[in-house]
Each structure stands twice: as C-alpha cells, then as structure tokens.
Symmetry: D2
Subunit: 339 residues, 4 copies
C-alpha cells in the first residue's frame, strides 16, 4: 500500500520534502535518492533509510520506486520529468516544470502521447486553506462574477543572487498559478510597473514591482511584488466581484496588548506561512498515486502556462513596462477545464 | 435662542465642559461661573467672556442663567442640584448626583414634587456610538434575549489618591449606568472578587477587581476593573444573548506593519476614548433645554440607582467578597421605563 | 466674533453645509443665501433665519457677509470665487474649484495678485481622522520612504446620470487630492485600466476602473474605482514604505456573532463615512476665518492640480488606456510645500 | 520503528483516532481493536486491517500491541489504564482518566509504583497552536505576571442527554486542564454562577453557566460555558497580566463583504476548531512512544486534578452557587512542575 518515492535532488527543498513524505504524510516512504552531489545524497538517504542511486535515470528505472519527486536544479527538471513519463511513473516536479516554454511543451506533448496524466507541478498555494475557502466562496456565487483581484506578495529580504526577473519567475509565479485556478480563467497579457525602488535593495534589483495581468474574461489583476519589505512574509489577495468581495485571512496569531499597542505577529517566511499547504499538497498527491488515479493538482499544462506568463512578465519588465500579450498555445482538451 | 449656561465649579472637568459648551456645541453660551476658588472662577470666566458670581445660589438665581451645570466637588452636588430644581431650572450634574443614597433621594423627591424632569446626570457612555449601536442591536432582537454581559474597564495608571472603593465609585459606576440603560433592567446584587493584586499598584489598593452583578431579569454581568493595567485605556463590553452576541468595537485606528508585527494604537485616556460621547451628551442636553423639553439623558433616578449599586459593591469589597443585595427603593412611575 | 457666512447655492450639499455651520460648528452664522432657484433659497434662508439675496455678486458684496461658501452648480464656481477674491473675502468652494484647468488658473492668479490666501477647496478627506493618523505615521518615518499606495473607492450604486468620466472627476478626485497631501508629492502621470464591467451597471458606464498614478518621487498609486459595488461605501488606502506599511481603518462598528458568522456593518454612504471629516473641515475653516488667518485646508492650487490630474485621467480613459503625462504648470512659491 | 497501537473502544471518537493514527500521523499502525460491541470492533478493524480481540485485557497483553489507546466508555477507563500500566505499556486515555477522584488516584499510585510515566490523558487544547503561542508569550514575560483569565466555551447546541453537571465534567474540563498548564498554577476553588437560562435549552439544563476559579497564586478565572449558544462553536481565552494581555485568535477564515456587512465564518464544531490540535497531540504521543521516552502531554496527575476540580465545580452548582474549595492531594514530586 505504501507509495515508494524516489527523490531526484537532495538540496534544501528536497530534504524538506523527504522529511514531509517520511514524517508528516502517511502512506509514503522514500526508497531512493539521487543528487549531483553524491555526499549530500548519501547524507539524506542515510537519514531516512533510502538507497542512493547514481543518476535520475537510474532512480526512475528502479523497481523500488513507484513515484518520482523532482527537486533538482531547475534546468534539469524537464529531462527528469520526461524520463518519468516515458517510464509511465507518476512524477511530482517542483516549480518550474521547465525553464523554457519549449521544454514545458515537450512534457505536455509526452504526457498527451502517454494518454493519461502523470505529472503534478509543485504550486502549493492551491492547497492553502485560505485560497480554498476563497474558491468555495467564488464557486458558491456569493460575490458574483469576479472583476478584479488585488494581490501582494512580500518577503522580508532576499539574498544577493536574486535578480529582477526572479520577481516574476520565482515570486509572482505562485500568484499566476493560483489565480488561474481560483478564477478558472486564463491570463492573456502582462505589464510591469516599476515604483521607486527601495533603498534597502541591491543596486541591480528593481524592487518592488507592480504586475498587471488581464484574463480572457477581462478580469484585471494587480500584484505588488516586494521582496525586501523588511517587516515580514505577507501574502494578500482580495477578489472583487459584482456583488461583493472576498479576502484572504492573515494567519491566526494571538493578539497582544502592551505598551500602548494591540499587535499580532506577521509570519517571517513562506515555510511557516504555507506549512499546511505543503502538507496537504503531498498528502493529496500520495493519495492519488496510491489510488492509481490521475493527480488533481497543477498539471503539466499549468506548468507550461505559468512559464509563458512569467516570460511575458519579464519581457514587459525588460521593455520598460510595455504591455505584453501572452503567447500561449491553445489549451488541449486533454487537460480539461478553462485555465 | 441661545441657552445661557451657568457653571458651578471651574476645575479641570468644569473648564473642559465650558470649552465644549463654547467651542464645540452650538446654541449655548456660558454666561456665569462660580467656584470656591475665586481666582480660578475669574480665569475661566475671563477666557470665555462670562461673569463671576460669588456662590452657586447666586448663579442659579441669575436672570442671565437659563440652565445650570454642576461640576463642583462631589459632596456639594446635591445642594446645587436641589437649588436648581427649586428655581425650576434645568441642571446637568456631573457624576455623582450625590455622595449618599439619601441625598440622591432628596433630589428625586424634589424633582417629583416639581412635577417634571429637570435633572440630567453626567454618565456619558450612553452617548457613545458603540454603545448606541449595541443598544440598537439588542432592540432589534438580533441576538435574542440577553443572558450575560462581559466587561472590562482598564486605565493605564491612577494617581496615589485613588483608593480601593473608587474602583466601584469612580470607575465601575460608568458600566453600572450604561448596562442598566443597555439592558433596560435593574441590578439587584453585587459581589467583588479580588484577584492577585498587581505589583504595579500602591500598597493600599486592591487592583484589579472583578465585579459580579445580577439583574432583576437574571442577566449576569462580570466586570474587570483594572486601573493600573499599564498598556492603555481599554473599554470592552460583550453582551451574550440566546441567539448570538454583540461586542463593542475598539476605536478605529490605522494598522501598521513593521518589524514583524501588525499593530494598532490603544487609546491612553478616557478623554480621547469618549470625546465623541461627551460632545453628543452636551449637544443633546442643550437641544433639550433649548426646546423646553425634559432631558433624555440619565435621570436623577439613574443617579440614585448608580449610587446604591456602587454602595453595595463597596460593601461587598469591604466584607471580603460577600454577595450583597442592592437595597433600592421601588422605581417611581414618574421616571418611566424599567431601569 | 461670530463669522457671518453667505451661501451661494442652496441645493442638497448647500443645505447640508448650512445645517453644519448653524447646528454643528460654533462661531458661525449663515446670514445670507442665494440660489438660481429663488424658492429654494427662500426656504433655506427661512429655516436658518438668513436673508435671501438675488445674486452671488450681491451676496459677496453684502456688509453682513464675512465669508463666502460656494455650493452652486460646478460651472459657476470660478466666477463666484473670483468675485470673492476681488472683494477680499475668504471663500470656501466645494469641489471642483472650476470645471476647467484654465478657470482654476484664473483663480490662482487672482489670489496671487491679491497677495494672501483666501480660497479653500472642499476636499474633506484631509480632515478624516484615519488619513490624519496615516499622515502622522508617514511623518514620523515609522514605515520609511513611501513607495506604493493601494486604494479603493467603492460606492454601492450611482444614479443614471453618472457617466464614465465622472469616475475620475467626481470620485477619484478625492483620492487624488488626499494622496498629494498625504505623500507631499505631485502626481505626474495617469493611466486607466478597464476591467470587465459589472453587469449591474448602466450600458454607458465603464465600471469598475483601475487608475494608476505616478508621482514626481516615483511612488506608484493604484486606485480601484467601483461605483456600483452593491455592498456598501468602502474606502481603502494602504501606503507601503521601505520598512513597513500603514492602512486606513474601517470605521468602528459593533461586532455581531449570529447564525454562524461574525460580522460588522459596512457604511452605506459617504455622508456617514465622512461625517466627522466634514465637521472638522468646517470647524477649522471657520476658526481660520475668525482668526483672520489664511486657510490651512486645500488651496486654489490644490483645486487646479486636482483638475489637471483628473483631466489626464479622463484623457487616458478616452484613449483606451494610454499613459498620459499630467500637464501641470510649475507650482508657485506662493503656495509653499511640494504638492 | 512503527508504533503498533491497540485501541480499546471503537465508537465515534475511537474511530476518529484510528483514522488519525492510520491516515494522518506517520510512524503508527493500529494492529488491534476491541469493543463491547463486537460488530463495531470488527467493522473498524476491517477498515484498517487490524485484528479484533475479545477484551481490553487481551489487547493490552497482545505481543502485537506496543501502546494502548483507551476510547471506551468513561467508567471503564481506569481499569484499562491500570492494566496497561501493570503491563508496562504506554497508554493514551481519552478524558476522563477516571470518573472518580479515587480511581484517578489509583492510576496515579500505580504509575508511581511503576516508576516512570506511561499515561497520557487526552486533553488536546495543550496542542492547539493558539494556546501554545499564548504560553510562549507568558513564558517570555511579555505581559508580566498573570492576574486574571477570561474564557468562554460555547457550543451551538448539545443533545438531550447533556445534563447540567456535564457543563463542568465534559465542557469546562478542557479549560480547567489547559489553564493549569498555561499558568503553571493550581486551581484551589470553584464557584458556579447561574445566569438566566436560555429558552433554547432543555428544561432540565442550566445553560449558560459562569464558572469562577481561583488559583494558588491568586489568579482569578471566569469561564462562560454556554452549550446552546446557537451561532457556533466559539472558544475565547484572554489572559491579563501586570503589563498587558494576550488573547487567543479566532481561526483564520476568509473575510467577505456583501449586502452591507463584512463577515467571517465561525466554526460549527470542535472537530473543525481543534483538528490541528488533535493531529499534533497524536503525532507527539507517537513520537514519544517511538523514542521510548515518557509522554510530554497531560499526565495521570493532570487527569486526577481535572477530576477533583470538576467535582468541586459540580458541587458548587448543586449547592446553588457556593464557593467550594478544591480537595486535592499534595502533588507528588514524581510529576514535577507546579500544576
């Protein structure tokens, strides 16, 4: 009954997911690990009683691996996912599915050729209780047809390696995915507006950025990305509809009154903020694999869509803020739905 | 058309009310002032262009005084109010109406003998927008029949002169009045529970205190009085009914996110917290006087009731926490209502 | 001592201001009224004991008028204000100062020629306690240098006469003024983004609209204007700075728990939401007039700036969303400040 | 590595815990089940692949059972726990540990005789993130020495079988346990105040009740128990200290603005409200068993203390509200701590 997972990539996020599959989610075990750094692989494997295998291909082929988790360096994702699809094994790929739209499409084509869904992409927001409540409210029609979404995605700080394009590729990509799902609608254009940059940034970085998206149904999205906001990790989302609005809650935290102020703590990182979402994401993925069912989370198509939309966003930023039309292929019927 | 007010007592609260009648409320002027300290009276009178009169009796008799405001030392209240009633002039008396139940009753009897209401007592909570909203919710039946009220009355600090009985006499008396009005019900017993005292208090002071009241209808009220809570001036009130509850809001204040916390300011004194209530209290009183109508605010009977209930509360405190039945006369039909 | 105000225009807003000057604000009386509809003028005058005068010019010239309030039809504002300036009398002009930038400039020039400020324009947001708290927070440097402002301005519904340009001219103009003051910065460009329109709108109306502004210092402002949001009158404003953010509070309202929900009421119109702001606006204006001082509220220059910025906004809307540079004259030193 | 759990009692709560141990918590399996209703045991066992054993004693003796979970009928708890202690096996006992103080003491004595802790009692509040945050705030000294705790425990409705004593035994017992732990202090007296009863109750039921507790350190606790409050399942807790207060948050839920109100959902039952607490409770218990360590959750002593305190509370209710001193044995050093 236990799903035996092989993990490609034993870096920080890989190790965290191994821990999750081993200590948090029932019904799974990690049987094999590989990493470009053999020592790191050995360490992770030892900790959880798994075998080290030399390459991703070996791991995918292993008879002791029922399902594959790809948490390696982004540029290697596509190859591993394609191998897993070729082997007919379910594969969970951390974002991004691939670093180029072309590679994403190769995965999409391979999966379609295979004939059933095997791929899930690691966008965890869809598993967050707040976003799920928001989707229920929209589905129930409580606020009417959505017209506008206001979002903010703030990190206290980012390391020096973070560059301006990553605001779309690494940060906004989460909103891009979750809003497509939330609205059941496709994003058709992107535009980046650049406010005065914070003096707390590195010289090379445009921070904050305001991203404007339009959907096929005409919904307008504004998203503030501010990755050096200093005060905390803060995710805001408000959907305005014809008859009302719905707003994501702040995480529950004790209220304190001292020294003239009432206050609550703001989370300091995404791990704390989305801990429940990550757990649910893997719990549901393992359950789908155990049931022999297609995954219900973000698909290869969603991975492709996120990539072409972030590409358009970066293109707008690079062009000084021009509105850029998203160049997306028609959605194959294979993937159902709208967005 | 302008109501000419004579003010007996030009101390801090008297001066603040003179300012209010002169600068905030329309339709009123302060024409005469008296004070036991002639210099203080002269100063206040000079500031607002009023005449100084030697005594309260002179002021009440003055043909330039339409209505009387009593803000002198508590023990002198009854005499001034009785004189005003004898003169047939509307009189606003800061709390307490009198320092003993007997003197309150003398005012009540004098007013009844006069045949129409002339006296309003200065309990300003009834004019606070939050309490008024709460009364509307109760009146609309939105939460059903009230069963319980939870209250807290906290001051950041009090001066050395504050003694344990003042927790009832000066502090809780505001809740006592406003809850009688809110519930349209009478308080029939009082009991004081003494928690561990704060080490931030003076030696002689029992602080905090928890006061328990029961009403004629069986509603139970718990009231925390904590006058050295350090962090701010904080008034809480929650009424629980058969179908729901209603809670007083905190004052609106900008929210700030910095250094890992979301916070709002807590008021630091009652003047800021109840500024609107004081303004409305005097606006409505002046309007009733100008219209030649009976006042609609707290009556002499309410002043009497507050005194006998605080007496019972102090008696419970002094007895080590015994439940004390409130010894109140039957409510005269003259005063209408229930409580 | 009493400031005798003459009122030009006795329509709904004029009558409300007459009531305010008469019943709410001390130190003022309304001595003269004029209106294009003589009957309406007579009615308003009778109610408050004022004299009816045939024209605005007569009223301005009256020896019984110390200060002028212009609440007539927008296109007549400039003429009345110019007459008041010519007469050297303080004048409070409801927004807009004039319907064209040219006419606003004529007022500015006349006032400069006169040599001291006489004109105040009726933007009441600057007198709202929430915005004032926000300005204090910014001034104290608590959130660092401002970078972004997110705003929403929602009305439950608007009448049929409301057309798309009014979203800028009548609605967003309040945010335009208050943000210039809040940030002490000038708006230099405007752009309108048009989301899917609500089906609850009239055919001719683009509603909602998202307006994007940039300031001289590079602050980016996004403002949702949604005048048929159905659920209430809702004003949101959040300023994001280098070290934190500050957010306007919702008005204080009792919280209720019934039938599975915790809820608070949302205001239903601007009169309720900004009642305090209007009162303070007139209280401070009358105080400045009584003191013979220059007004401290929005100036003729602010009226001009608001007009050219709304012009640019409407131009962007009409052009299908093009970014439009605000064509503003250099700010005269006469008006001090930055914005 | 896997902890093999045997479950005594396969009723609703037993089945929910079996599901939790099987599907939510890693490192555990349910290998044996017993129930007085053999069919129910068979059904539960079949669902999770466990063996049915005829009696609790058989289950405790089974070599396939490492640890015992007691979820049978309350009056049988003591016997099963004593058997588990005799067998030297870790045992998790749903509240109550026993239905009488005497039986609780028998468990305490047996465990002391055994020489190390084997027993954990199922008070899940200690594992709730909100209470844990509150304990951290208290431990950090952020609000100073605790003086008062205000609590409310509300259920929407209860079934007909619920009688007045259960307000203490089944409902308040959760606050009694969590407050002893939160304050690290012992409850020394109890008193029940009976407000007007809701007309939505059964005739036999005193609902709501207000319970007053005093601790050894003089902290005063007031707890509203209202089990037919209609509107939802609502848990409130506020601790007031010498320098401030800390308040339990409401669960995070999306905010909605429609039809003139801003609202959030209130949970409807304890399962939803404390789902995370239950999961953490079992995760930590299984981890302690797997590590061969003593349990860190509520001890047999805590089970005893809760029982004697609820006994005192019921005695006060039955006596018409008399203050009842808690008759508790001295705390054995074996159990460490204070409370």
């Amino acid at each position: 009954m236990t799903v035996r997972v092989g993990v490609i990539g034993a870096g920080m996020i890989g190790q965290d997911h191994i821990r999750r599959l081993t200590e948090v989610v029932t019904g799974a075990s990690v049987t094999a690990v590989t990493d470009i750094d053999a020592g790191r692989a050995a360490q992770a494997a030892a900790r959880f009683g798994a075998t080290v295998l030399p390459t991703g291909a070996d791991l995918i082929d292993s008879p002791h691996v029922d399902a594959v988790l790809v948490t390696s360096w982004g540029p290697t994702h596509a190859e591993h996912v394609l191998n897993a699809v070729a082997a007919g094994k379910p594969v969970f790929c951390e974002k991004p599915l691939a670093t180029t739209a072309e590679d994403c499409l190769r995965v999409v084509e391979a999966e379609r050729a295979h004939g059933r869904r095997l791929v899930q992409v690691g966008f965890m927001r869809r598993f967050d209780p707040g976003y799920r409540q928001m989707k229920e409210v929209l589905a129930a029609g409580s606020i009417g047809t959505p017209l506008i979404v206001h979002c903010a995605h703030r990190n206290p700080t980012v390391p020096d390696a973070y560059h301006s394009a990553m605001a779309a590729q690494d940060t906004a990509v989460h909103e891009i995915d979750v809003l497509r799902w939330l609205l059941d609608d496709e994003i058709v254009s992107a535009q980046v507006v650049s406010p005065r940059a914070t003096s707390r940034r590195f010289e090379h970085l445009q921070d904050p950025q305001i991203m404007l998206f339009e959907t096929a149904n005409g919904v307008r999205i504004d998203l503030e990305v501010f990755v050096n906001c200093q005060y905390g990790y803060d995710i805001q989302c408000e959907t305005v509809g014809e008859e009302g609005l719905v707003r994501l809650p702040d995480p529950a935290a004790v209220g304190i009154r001292t020294r003239g102020r009432h206050s609550t703590a703001v989370p300091q990182d995404w791990k704390a903020r989305f801990a429940d979402a990550f757990d649910t994401e893997f719990r549901e993925w393992i359950a789908s694999v155990a049931a022999g069912a297609e995954p219900t989370g973000p698909s290869a198509w969603d991975g492709y869509a996120a990539t072409v939309i972030t590409d358009a966003t970066v293109q707008s930023l690079d062009s000084g803020g021009r509105l850029v039309t998203v160049d997306m292929k028609p959605r194959p019927a294979f993937y159902g739905g709208t967005a």
